[in-house]
Symmetry: C2
Subunit: 219 residues, 2 copies
């Protein structure tokens, strides 16, 4: 079978969750900003019902907060929020690193190696856009390699929240170089399939990223 692509027509509310989430992550909807249903309905061309359903989901993901009878607001990215989020991501990435090492086959490692090279190339040409993309691909690949749906979904939820912080800070040259170095070390552990080592490095990598973010925010 499978002659054609399986027909997937997502429901409106699913579509809206996606679109709204992107708006929040891409910073089109600013933190603290009110999200008037009416306007969103108009711009998406849907009625309030599916939109409100979508907002409920976003709220349970922590991207917006709902106040009864007072509508939705995009959650603020506060230092406290980052302070709480990073350790949790870090510990999840540690677990992911360990599992990925055990479950990745040679082809999988080769694939990550490719993206790693892309990332290095982007670093050398100082192409921030390409760097962020390759970086994210690598992390996502490692998460996927862990083959744990629960881990993956919770990691995604948290990663989304942190990704918004990207718009707030500039990656310093020093931190950028450090991050590249950490990735080199991670690749080394991965090649040797050192599960514990990779896990620890990934955790540390996240916590260092956190420190860099906090420093940047304090200025």
């Amino acid at each position: 079978m499978n002659l054609t692509e399986s027909i997937k027509r997502p429901t409106l509310h699913e579509e809206l969750v996606e679109r709204l989430r992107n708006l929040v992550v891409e910073d089109a909807l600013k933190p603290g900003e009110k999200v008037p249903e009416k306007d969103l309905c108009a711009s998406f061309g849907v009625s309030r019902t599916p939109l409100r359903e979508a907002l409920k989901v976003l709220a349970s993901e922590g991207l917006v907060v709902l106040q009864a009878n007072r509508g939705a607001r995009v959650t603020e990215v506060t230092p406290e929020e980052l302070e709480n989020t990073f350790p949790v991501i870090a510990t999840l990435e540690q677990l992911a690193g360990e599992l990925a090492c055990e479950r990745l086959d040679d082809a999988g490692i080769a694939h990550i190696e490719e993206r790693h090279k892309d990332m290095i190339a982007a670093y050398k040409t100082r192409d921030r856009q390409a760097y962020f993309q390759a970086n994210q691909d690598i992390h996502n690949a490692l998460i996927t390699a862990a083959q744990n749906e629960v881990l993956e979904s919770h990691h995604r939820m948290l990663a989304v929240r942190v990704r918004r912080a990207r718009f707030m800070v500039n990656l310093s040259d020093k931190r950028w170089a450090q991050a590249i170095d950490e990735h080199e070390q991670m690749m080394e552990k991965l090649r040797r399939r050192d599960a514990k080592g990779l896990g620890e490095l990934m955790k540390l990598h996240m916590l260092n990223k956190f420190v860099a973010h906090m420093k940047a925010l304090q200025t």
Copy 2:
């Protein structure tokens, strides 16, 4: 200020999320079971709108699955699901243990000590109900003590999913004794404020619980 309790009048959909979640956790709604909106609306005395909003939230928490045009089903508790969930909970509890050690004051530790004694008492009289309750209280207290909202909310989501498994297996005498022993060790680490030690024990405790569950399921 704060002269009176802040007035909280939850919206219907919030109330429904709570109630429905309980129904799933308490196993009143069985895994795999269809959840006809109509019946639920009738039994709760609400219209479909808030109920459907609640189902969307439950779906994003992974307690139900929504199939377009075919309604909601309670998610099955499969061995795969447990296999994926336990390691994630374990790693979160490890983090919680470490943070709790750093942040609990003497009064907080004393409070946990109390619940620990309750748990031991329940064990001696083989009062499963009281045991489960005290056990859960202890874990929750440690999570709360970590003072990390993100950690807490994600842990709660996962704990709910696992708690359902309780209805599927019987706690063996052997495992029960082992669990008590593990808790004794955890308390010892906590008294000494050995953050790393408590974290490792809590992780191990969860993984052992997982092994016990899997053994029980295989029979």
